[in-house]
């Protein structure tokens, strides 16, 4: 059985890439840019999800107790809270615990902040989670009513959760549209590059046809060319993405002290990013070259 030379086919696709220099570079740059934008959106969503999760149960309510209340009074308030309907869990955080938690977070960076102070400056608090989030608001109002019993402040994060959730949804929405548009832009550029490659080799293709080359033999170098564009773009995009991520992680956030935002290490997702880039890049390359061949390689 005759075997087509794979090295010949791959060699042809490299030659094609070289011959269409400008268009090949344009295709690689467009696909690379698309992948970086896609990767950036993906990483934003990944970090947003993690940051949302790290905020803990956002449907919890923290009730701060008046500073002058005694331990017995604080305990009595806790019992009253537990008796309210829709309360799932009540966690007591003493003044000492609150002080330790704050120290753990800020002491390294702001040691002077904790000099000469002790736990007495922090109020005791209860963190309440509800059974049914649909009735969260009613529970909050009940707790607000307890201000005359010694509750000084009721703090809840539901609004923050909703805001973050809507930001996340917005990012996903924009991301989806961007992805679709960028995918078609990449496809369009690759189609044109392969079209140029086909027209450059028109005579060669016509002779191949006359001597009995199969369609696959004629088409494979062009498809390989598309795949090559995909691989070069995705590997380059991966390294650029890694550099940009590292830059934002180490320089930007550190410089501006954006403490609320926690950035996950790129190492956690590097294989996923590379895999996704390669998959999208190669898929775009194959689809782009196939569409171009279907249009320009009719017998």
């Amino acid at each position: 059985m005759r075997r087509y030379s794979l090295t010949y086919l791959i060699g042809q696709s490299f030659k094609g890439l070289w011959r269409n220099g400008v268009m090949s570079v344009a295709s690689i740059l467009v696909l690379l840019s698309c992948l970086i934008v896609m990767g950036t959106f993906g990483l934003i969503i990944y970090n947003l999800n993690d940051n949302l999760a790290s905020l803990g149960d956002l449907n919890s309510i923290t009730v701060f107790i008046d500073m002058e209340k005694t331990d017995e009074e604080i305990q009595s308030i806790g019992e009253s809270i537990s008796r309210l309907s829709n309360v799932k869990n009540v966690e007591y955080i003493s003044k000492a615990e609150a002080f330790e938690r704050q120290k753990a977070i800020y002491e390294e960076e702001y040691p002077y902040f904790f000099q000469g102070v002790d736990e007495t400056i922090y109020p005791a608090s209860y963190v309440i989670t509800c059974d049914d989030n649909a009735h969260f608001e009613e529970l909050r109002l009940e707790l607000e009513k307890m201000k005359d019993q010694g509750v000084s402040k009721v703090r809840y994060l539901a609004d923050a959760a909703e805001t973050l959730e809507s930001i996340k949804n917005g990012v996903i929405y924009i991301f989806t549209w961007f992805m679709a548009i960028l995918f078609f832009v990449s496809l369009f550029v690759i189609i044109n590059t392969i079209k140029l490659a086909v027209s450059y080799r028109k005579q060669e293709i016509s002779i191949m046809r006359y001597v009995g080359a199969t369609n696959w033999f004629i088409m494979l170098p062009f498809i390989f060319e598309g795949i090559l564009i995909g691989i070069i773009s995705s590997v380059s995009a991966f390294f650029i993405q890694m550099y940009l991520y590292g830059f934002i992680e180490s320089s930007f956030l550190a410089e501006y002290n954006i403490r609320l935002v926690h950035i996950l290490p790129f190492d956690n997702v590097k294989y996923i990013v590379l895999g996704a880039f390669l998959a999208i890049g190669i898929f775009t390359g194959i689809v782009g070259s196939s569409i171009s061949l279907r249009k320009n390689l009719k017998a």
């Binding site: 005759r2 005579q203 002779i207 006359y210 001597v211 009995g212 080359a213 033999f217 017998a299």
Partner: protein, 226 residues
């Protein structure tokens, strides 16, 4: 063996290029197809190359029924043909040997066979000393001989030459036609030459099929240009 049985070809714009054509060509025959412009010569060639499909009738080349041949099988059919064009259609950036080996590579022949066969084919067309030359370094006749070597590369049973001497002066035309005759006799290949060159046709006294308005108006062995 080539058999046209009542073959008609009507193009989508309504032009009737061939109308109920009947023609039989045996293995090893040498046939000139002649006729004025628009007589149907090019369509006949396109049908033989299976670039076009017959509108009605049956066209058989050896075991291939071209009217029913699926697109998938067309490349395998074409491997039985060798095609020579008026404009040579050589790769200017490939050497003579590379132009010939390209035809073998395109159908996936192993490199070992290509290395063995190419010099032998160049020997047949008398270009063994020009293997490394590029087409621009050759005369028109030599370029056409490269095209013939390429047509022979895959050892086809049928050679179709479309106006092979159209771009050559009379001396070179004679040389090319002699070569085609030699290939026909010594290699027992069927050769079909489509031409409008009266002198050549009359000189060689082979079978001549004359077309006019999509019909065969004359078909005789040892014939003259109609």
């Amino acid at each position: 063996m080539i058999d046209f049985e009542n073959v008609s070809k009507v193009y989508p714009n309504g032009t009737v290029a061939l109308d109920g054509l009947n023609l039989h060509i045996d293995d090893g025959e040498f046939v000139f197809i002649v006729g004025a412009s628009g007589a149907g010569k090019s369509t006949l060639m396109k049908l033989l190359l299976r670039e076009e499909k017959v509108t009605s009738g049956s066209l058989r080349v050896d075991e291939f029924e071209l009217s029913k041949l699926s697109n998938y099988k067309v490349p395998y059919y074409r491997r039985r043909l060798g095609v020579v064009f008026q404009d040579f259609r050589l790769f200017q950036n490939k050497s003579v040997a590379e132009n010939v080996s390209f035809a073998m590579r395109a159908i996936g022949e192993p490199a070992k066979l290509i290395r063995r066969r190419v010099p032998a084919i160049l020997n047949v067309v008398g270009l063994q000393d020009k293997a490394k030359n590029f087409p621009r370094e050759l005369s028109g006749g030599e370029q056409q001989r490269v095209a013939m070597a390429r047509a022979l590369a895959n050892n086809p049973g049928l050679i179709i030459a479309d106006e092979p001497t159209g771009n050559l002066d009379p001396m070179l035309s004679l040389e090319i036609m002699n070569l085609l005759i030699r290939i026909n006799k010594s290699k027992n290949k069927t050769v079909i030459v489509i031409t409008h060159e009266k002198n050549l046709v009359d000189h060689f006294q082979q079978r001549v099929v004359t077309l006019n308005d999509g019909h065969i108006v004359d078909d005789r062995v040892g014939g003259m240009f109609g």
